[in-house]
């Protein structure tokens, strides 16, 4: 018997969250693997406010309880996010699993989270008394350590869409479906008037949290093609210093080599 609450509105959910020690449960695809018989669940998968998808100016607001399938089928979902979601697990899990859950799991191998990192997305966190909007990079303190208070829920992901059109995405898993990322990389690069207007990269599954180094990507921003080509070696070397992968089911050396290969290919494919 599962003990839990099924609130109908966000307001109601936040009240319960404030009063009880509950585990938020959206799709449940992570939680049901090792069910805690003593847990009390707060089911947030039917809260309308958390299932909305809405474009406001340059920002796409995604309800945290949106399922992968919902996003895969939605016309407003950016192609890079669809590319990532398409390789997550398998249809049955995509039908239930949510992006808010992917974030709350706290893993650096979460494939939708990588896209939120490279896009410099922010999260909207609500409690009964307050609302906070913080960059996703600040939300992840370290592996499984999230800036989420016991009375808060992740309600929305705010995704800036301006730079998402020109993307590079590659996931390395042990097979084609139902595969946890062994290395996953996303890159964004936009040329405007022959200079790089925007460059952002992110690496998943290499460290405790998704690796995103805007200060290094800034080395290329504002550069012409020839300037970028001249800066390429330094840029790659700087990432070489930053990427210190964890040893896991594949070796750290493999992870690092693949990261740098993909980063190089990302530049090459952009003519750099």
């Amino acid at each position: 018997m599962v003990n839990g609450f099924s609130p109908a509105t966000l307001q109601e959910a936040l009240e319960i969250r404030a009063r009880h020690s509950v585990t938020p449960y959206a799709g449940g695809t992570d939680l049901m693997i090792n069910p805690d018989p003593d847990a009390v669940y707060l089911f947030v998968n039917h809260i309308p406010e958390m299932k909305q998808i809405e474009q406001r100016g340059d920002q796409l607001h995604l309800g945290a309880a949106c399922t992968y399938t919902q996003l895969l089928e939605h016309p407003l979902t950016p192609a890079i996010l669809k590319a990532a979601i398409d390789l997550i697990a398998a249809p049955a899990i995509r039908n239930e699993g949510t992006i808010g859950g992917n974030i709350a799991n706290g893993s650096a191998k979460a494939d939708s989270v990588l896209i939120f990192f490279v896009a410099d997305a922010s999260l909207k966190l609500n409690s009964q008394s307050a609302e906070r909007i913080i960059p996703i990079r600040d939300f992840y303190r370290e592996r499984k350590q999230l800036d989420l208070r016991p009375d808060e829920l992740i309600t929305e992901i705010i995704l800036p869409t301006k730079w998402l059109d020109h993307y590079y995405y590659k996931k390395v898993g042990a097979r084609k479906a139902l595969a946890i990322s062994r290395v996953v990389f996303a890159g964004l690069l936009t040329w405007q008037d022959d200079v790089i207007a925007h460059c952002a990269t992110a690496f998943g599954a290499v460290s405790g949290v998704v690796l995103r180094c805007p200060e290094l990507d800034a080395l290329l921003i504002g550069k012409t093609r020839s300037e970028a080509q001249a800066a390429k070696a330094g840029y790659l070397a700087a990432f070489g210093d930053m990427i210190a992968p964890i040893q896991g089911r594949v070796s750290a050396e493999y992870r690092k080599e693949v990261c740098l290969n993909l980063l190089t290919d990302f530049l090459t494919s952009n003519g750099i």
Binding site: A90, A174, R175, L178, V258, D265
Partner: protein, 707 residues
């Protein structure tokens, strides 16, 4: 195609598709006790003492002292204890069972059991092993002369890893002891193996032992010997429970961590080459047996008999050893020792051809056995060897030559392509004289008064469709509609011992017995009365008697043949490869049901491709298997199934039903070397181990860049 080959709806299709099939986990458990096994956390230790916590009413313990018969599980040799007594020999070695009504309470109580161990030195790496459970030598020809006259000598070591059967339904059995009789039912391949093991462990006469196979969700060899072990454990518990049935069903973790797998191997091959031809082969085959012998003897025998592959090599020296390590005992898995040696010999032939600057396929064809050739054990290939025609079929289907030439040229960009081909056989039926001397299969047909006919045999349908194919054979001979012939899951109280469901034998051997029985019944048919006919196995006259002590004679009456081409595209950035096509021709004789056989061929091929690549499994330094879930032990998903073109080449076998021979294991056996040969072309480097990972590929790419 013969009419018998035409596909029908499988006998068990509707029940399975509608969820009505009763698996062992589906029985009502309200009157049942559950059992939970305490296992050794150490790879090798002496048990000094055990302290049980106070147990609530209705809970009790079962250990070796409760075994009423002999504390040994009868398999081939009987060194596996029902429950460990003095020592534990691997992580997971069963020590005792806690039995009671509530599973969570059992878990709580099990955690409170204290065992004091004295740790003993453990052998984890097979290279450190000093005990050969089995050690075989055989050969033919003049090795010394071949060596002395050789132009070149090649030597290479090949390694293969574990493979987990990964059947969907984990191991599970229910035992019930009532009025002096033990009944065990559940998931299994070989009811009479379980029957024999129970009689010994419980000290009961055969008539006091009953074994029933329930609908079984896959076996692949994993339910050949293991159910005998679990059956003894559960039966001893039921014996103590006195009247209340006891059920044990493994979770996925327990199943993956502690039940048998394919033997990892190290094969060191040496070949002498003179005038572009291999004149002698010295094969040293080492299998990691694990902690007990279980099926290692017979797995090793099949492996080493195939040591020279499909090649006619005049001088041969073969040594095979199954080495004890303090790890989980390895056992049967589709292919049964042959995938290991076929990987070694196929890759060796590739490498020798490459060194001689000859196309590997042409090199292989020049060495191929043909009808009348002498086998590795001095037997004969009595029937036509259809490999040349099958090679041609696969060449055409895959556009092999064209692709092979194109991919041999300098490749640019981030994709490297390659195509490879492998050739193999699988000996049909039991190795050696087992069928004649040990199994002595018996089948019966029981005709009811109303004219319906029931098959009485001990074959278990584990998804391979044997219920359907056996019924088709009998219905065909009796000119009955298929629904007038039935075959229930075997129950040893009702069916004779027609042998185990293993070794690609059921259809060929038992199917032929049933065909003969049906012919006899037809000749004796009387309307309106019950009739029974019985048929006993008889070895075909042409067979050259096999002597296992000398490895001499016909190891198999006939062979199934396989040819497979695999094409790959490797991403040089990640080392990840994609199989862009597989094309195969298989000769399993006459297919008794085309859909079933094609399904077997495709499924087996896929398991072989998984074996070669993603199915990574290893014991860590302490001897613990850590890949014990489907998220950590990676098998192909539907998305990983490549383009597969499979066709059948029929070389009918006169002593099999309508020409059928062994089918089940064949497709897996030689998939790995075709795949690795393709990768070798793509990566321009030699491969001598499987599973071969993306990381391994990236290393080869790096090396070839340097070179």
């Amino acid at each position: 195609m013969m009419p018998i080959s035409q596909s029908v709806i499988k006998k068990d299709h509707l029940a399975k598709a509608c969820g009505q099939a009763m698996y062992v986990a589906d029985y009502d458990t309200t009157q049942m006790l559950q059992g939970l096994i305490l296992r050794s956390p150490h790879a090798h230790a002496k048990i000094l003492s055990m302290t049980y916590p106070p147990l609530p009413e209705g809970y009790f313990t079962v250990d070796y002292r409760d075994v009423p018969g002999i504390n040994e599980v009868h398999i081939v040799k009987d060194d596996t204890p029902v429950y460990a007594d003095a020592t534990v020999e691997y992580i997971g070695d069963p020590i005792m069972m806690l039995v009671g009504p509530d599973e969570r309470e059992l878990e709580r109580l099990l955690a409170q059991i204290e065992v004091n161990y004295e740790l003993l030195p453990a052998i984890i790496d097979v290279r450190d092993g000093d005990t050969a459970f089995f050690d075989y030598h055989f050969g033919k020809g003049d090795m010394d002369q071949a060596w002395a006259e050789a132009d070149q000598i090649f030597e290479e070591c090949f390694e293969t890893g574990y493979q987990e059967q990964a059947y969907l339904e984990p191991q599970g059995l229910i035992a019930d002891y009532n009025q002096g009789k033990i009944t065990v039912r559940g998931s299994m391949q070989c009811p009479y193996y379980v029957h024999g093991a129970l009689a010994k462990a419980l000290g009961l006469t055969p008539d006091k032992v009953r074994v029933i196979q329930d609908v079984t969700g896959g076996g692949f060899g994993g339910k050949e010997d293991y159910p005998s072990i679990l059956a003894c454990q559960v039966a001893v518990a039921a014996y103590k429970a006195k009247g209340q049935p006891v059920r044990v069903i493994f979770g996925r973790r327990e199943d993956m961590e502690f039940t048998s797998k394919r033997h990892p191997s190290r094969c060191t091959y040496k070949a002498a080459v003179k005038n572009g031809r291999v004149t002698a082969l010295d094969a040293d085959v080492i299998f990691n047996a694990g902690a007990y012998t279980t099926l290692s003897a017979v797995v090793l025998q099949r492996g080493i008999i195939a040591a020279s592959g499909v090649y006619d090599i005049p001088a041969l020296k073969v040594h095979g050893a199954a080495i004890k390590t303090n790890t989980v005992p390895n056992g049967a898995y589709r292919g049964f020792g042959a995938p290991q040696t076929f990987f070694a010999v196929e890759m060796l032939m590739e490498h020798i051809a490459n060194a001689l600057d000859e196309e590997p396929l042409a090199f292989k064809l020049r060495h191929m056995v043909r009808q009348g050739s002498v086998t590795s054990t001095g037997g004969r290939y009595h029937f036509p060897v259809p490999l040349p025609a099958m090679v041609d079929e696969v060449r055409k289907m895959s556009d092999f030559e064209q692709k092979r030439q194109v991919y041999a040229r300098q490749q640019t960009g981030t994709t490297r392509r390659g195509i490879g081909i492998s050739l193999w056989f699988h000996g049909a039926g039991f190795t050696g004289s087992g069928e004649r001397d040990i199994i002595k299969a018996v089948t019966r047909l029981h005709k009811l008064a109303d004219g319906r006919v029931e098959i009485l045999a001990s074959q278990s349908d584990i998804g391979q469709g044997i219920k359907t194919t056996l019924c088709k054979i009998v219905a065909n001979e009796l000119n009955l509609p298929l629904d007038q012939v039935s075959y229930d899951n075997p129950d040893t109280d009702r069916v004779p011992d027609s042998g185990p469901t293993v070794a690609s034998r059921s259809l060929m051997t038992v199917g032929e017995l049933l065909r003969r029985a049906a012919i006899r019944l037809r000749s004796q048919w009387q309307e309106g009365v019950e009739q029974t006919v019985e048929e006993h196995f008889k070895e075909p006259d042409f067979v050259i008697p096999f002597y296992i002590d000398k490895f001499q004679g016909d190891a198999y009456p006939t062979y199934a043949w396989g040819v497979c081409a695999v094409e790959v595209a490797v991403d040089t950035l990640t080392g990840v490869n994609e199989i862009t096509g597989t094309w195969a021709s298989f000769d399993v004789g006459t297919p008794i049901d085309l859909n079933i056989v094609i399904g077997q061929m495709e499924g087996g091929l896929l398991q072989g491709l998984g074996y070669a690549s993603m199915e990574q499994l290893a014991a860590d330094q302490k001897g613990r298997i850590r890949n014990h879930s489907f998220s950590d032990y990676i098998i192909p998903t539907a998305m990983d199934v490549p383009l597969m073109k499979v066709q059948l080449h029929v070389e009918a076998y006169p002593d099999g039903p309508y020409g059928a021979k062994g089918a089940g294991e064949l497709p897996l056996v030689g998939a790995a070397p075709a795949y690795m040969s393709a990768l070798e072309q793509a990566l321009a480097g030699p491969i001598n181990h499987i599973p071969f990972s993306a990381e391994d590929a990236l290393k080869l790419i790096r090396q070839s860049r340097r070179a």
